[in-house]
């Protein structure tokens, strides 16, 4: 079926709605509008390198990285346990794992407000057993918690999927050659699961570093991440040029992250980015 024309409507659509907008973004980030003149400039990017803004960048990356690591530490064992369970439970448990993701993202984040408040459930429980109330909300702890909560299934699923595909006979071969379960894990299972781990890291780090909902709702406006910064620039301050510049920086971060992980990625889907 030599019908490449079928894709033309789509190509046109994408040119209009994806390529041109990106072009606009790039345009805005490199220009200043001063009345009649539009000049090319680096100032917006330079502005980004001021300490206040760099701090925001650093904080975003740090929080996202911490969340990613926590997701990995909690998620890898979970994926292993799920993989080791018997067939009839496996599917049910995977469904249960995925089910919360079907709930609205905002509702899931909002739900933690109830739990973490000063007058909320957790604090009430703490008081009931005689401890002090803790400040669980509107701080970095809450934001990290929100990130981990929202993204941990994205870490567990790829790792589980790769572990599932490991040929049983490789593990038996390792045992046959004298490796006890610990050595088998370190030398055989973990190396073979790396593609899943990298996939999980990407799928957690990227949304974590670009979110602004989690920081807005659970950080109460105290924690500013890059996402918040961009939103502010566009909707509050009205400085589209700066906002676009920050967006481009964000894209660069994403590309670097992906470049890292796709070095190990062997999968091709018939037309990839690299």
């Amino acid at each position: 079926m030599r019908k490449t024309w079928l894709a033309y409507p789509y190509t046109l659509w994408m040119l209009l709605f994806t390529v041109i907008p990106m072009g606009l973004l790039i345009y805005f980030s490199f220009t200043t509008n001063s009345g009649t003149n539009t000049a090319l400039t680096w100032t917006h990017f330079q502005r980004f390198f001021e300490p206040i803004y760099l701090k925001v960048l650093l904080r975003s990356i740090t929080l996202a990285a911490i969340s990613t690591v926590i997701c990995l530490l909690i998620g890898y064992p979970a994926a292993m346990i799920l993989n080791g369970s018997s067939l009839k439970y496996k599917n049910t448990m995977i469904t249960l794992l995925v089910l919360p993701m079907w709930m609205n993202f905002l509702l899931r984040t909002y739900a933690w407000l109830t739990l973490l408040e000063r007058k909320g459930i957790i604090n009430s429980l703490l008081v009931a057993i005689g401890l002090n109330r803790l400040d669980l909300l509107y701080n970095e702890f809450a934001v990290i918690l929100g990130m981990v909560y929202n993204f941990i299934p994205f870490m567990i699923l790829p790792i589980y999927s790769v572990l599932n595909k490991i040929d049983r006979s490789l593990i038996e071969a390792a045992e046959d050659l004298g490796a006890n379960p610990v050595i088998t894990f370190i030398k055989v299972i973990f190396p073979l699961s790396l593609p899943g781990v990298l996939s999980g890291i990407t799928m957690v780090f990227m949304p974590a570093v670009t979110t602004f909902v989690i920081s807005r709702l659970l950080g109460g406006g105290q924690i500013t991440l890059i996402g918040d910064l961009i939103e502010q620039q566009f909707l509050l301050v009205g400085d589209w040029n700066f906002g676009s510049a920050i967006s481009l920086v964000m894209i660069v971060i994403i590309l670097i992250t992906m470049g890292f992980t796709s070095k190990y990625e062997r999968e091709q889907t018939g037309g990839g980015l690299w």
């Binding site: 040929d167 006979s169 490789l170 038996e172 071969a173 390792a174 045992e175 046959d176 050659l177 004298g178 490796a179 006890n180 050595i183 030398k187 055989v188 190396p191 073979l192």
Partner: protein, 349 residues
């Protein structure tokens, strides 16, 4: 029992209510090349995996040099396995794969390098140390799998249908190589296959299995010439098997004729299975044969002609280097020593 390296005593294995193997009794001697032979699902791989430690028996004992083997996990047994699909570690190169077991035993790197070099020589793949696994052909991967197991100098090597994925000529070459290796190294080989020719070529002892039970244990010659029951007769080599009645010692009736044979010890008029190998059934002139019939089909097999002769209401398979064309009327004759009588086996063994 001193030279019984492995002893299986009344071993059974059950999965979800069905018995994969029932009451297996067998022993394996030092330096023996013993083959578990049988069709798919007969339990040979299950038996092998129990010896290797990847399954635990539901009943019975597994002894290694007299002591209970089942208390040891696979990584503590002095046994190594060559897996059916090789199970080479894809993320390691040839050297790392072979050295895997040696590194665990904390052997010095210099000695490891030596041993790996020597074993690669043995499997005729010297210089392949740095190669990646998926750059190797099937036959090469196979030999690396063998090398990886052998380099650990196990007392027993288990081989689970290792030659199945290779093409015919390579398979035949590897059969001879494996046999030579086993004799040179003096290691006990326990081999699993469904290919009876392979078993006959390589083994000192063959264990024929079917439906989870042992049908016969013996040398290749014994099993081929004196099959104990219809199953073994049908599985090993080609056979003509027909029902008959043992009239008295040395006389059997089948296909409507009374034929002298060389077996005795059966009850008078006992129903038996009569087995005659195609190469033992001779085509002679119509007047000279015990049976009379005509040639139905002829197939050229290279080594001989295979002719199907219809006689006395049955189809008989004959192998001969002399061609009798289809339609020709012939007689069939067989020497008493070439008629094998066996007791009828119950329908569900």
């Amino acid at each position: 029992m001193a030279d019984h390296l492995i002893n299986l005593i009344n071993v059974s294995k059950e999965y979800n209510g069905t018995k994969a193997i029932k009451n297996i009794n067998l022993y394996v001697r030092k330096n023996e090349f013993i083959t578990l032979l049988g069709p798919s699902g007969c339990g040979k791989t299950t038996t092998l995996r129990i010896i290797g430690g990847f399954e635990y028996p539901t009943d019975g004992q597994v002894l290694f040099e007299g002591t209970d083997l089942t208390v040891l996990p696979p990584y503590r047994r002095k046994i190594n396995t060559v897996f059916q699909k090789y199970a080479l570690f894809p993320h390691m190169n040839v050297f790392e794969n072979i050295a895997f077991g040696l590194k665990i035993k904390k052997i010095e790197p210099k000695i490891i390098a030596e041993k790996v070099g020597r074993i690669l020589e043995l499997v005729c793949l010297s210089g392949y140390e740095k190669r990646s696994i998926n750059s190797l052909s099937g036959g090469q991967q196979q030999r690396i799998a063998i090398a990886r197991a052998l380099v650990n100098e196990p007392e027993i090597l288990l081989l689970d249908e290792p030659l199945g994925a290779l093409d015919l000529q390579l398979r035949k070459d590897m059969q001879l190589e494996l046999k030579a290796m086993q004799q040179r190294l003096g290691i006990t080989f326990i081999y699993v296959t469904h290919d009876q020719e392979e078993a006959l070529t390589m083994s000192d002892t063959i264990v024929v299995m079917n439906k989870g039970q042992i049908q016969q244990i013996g040398t290749p010659v014994d099993i081929y010439n004196e099959p104990k029951n219809a199953f073994v007769a049908g599985f090993i080599g080609e056979s003509n098997i027909v029902s008959g009645i043992m009239l008295e010692d040395f006389l059997v009736e089948f296909a409507g004729c009374k034929v002298p044979c060389s077996d005795q010890g059966f009850a008078t008029n006992e129903p038996v299975d009569v087995v005659i190998r195609p190469e033992d059934l001779k085509i002679v002139d119509e007047t000279e044969g015990i049976f009379k019939g005509s040639v139905k089909y002829v197939t050229f097999k290279g080594v001989h002609y295979e002719m199907i002769v219809e006689a006395h209401g049955m189809d008989w398979m004959i192998h001969s280097t002399r061609l009798r064309p289809a339609g020709m009327k012939v007689g069939l004759k067989v020497d008493p020593y070439d008629i094998h009588i066996m007791k009828k086996v119950a329908a569900n063994a």
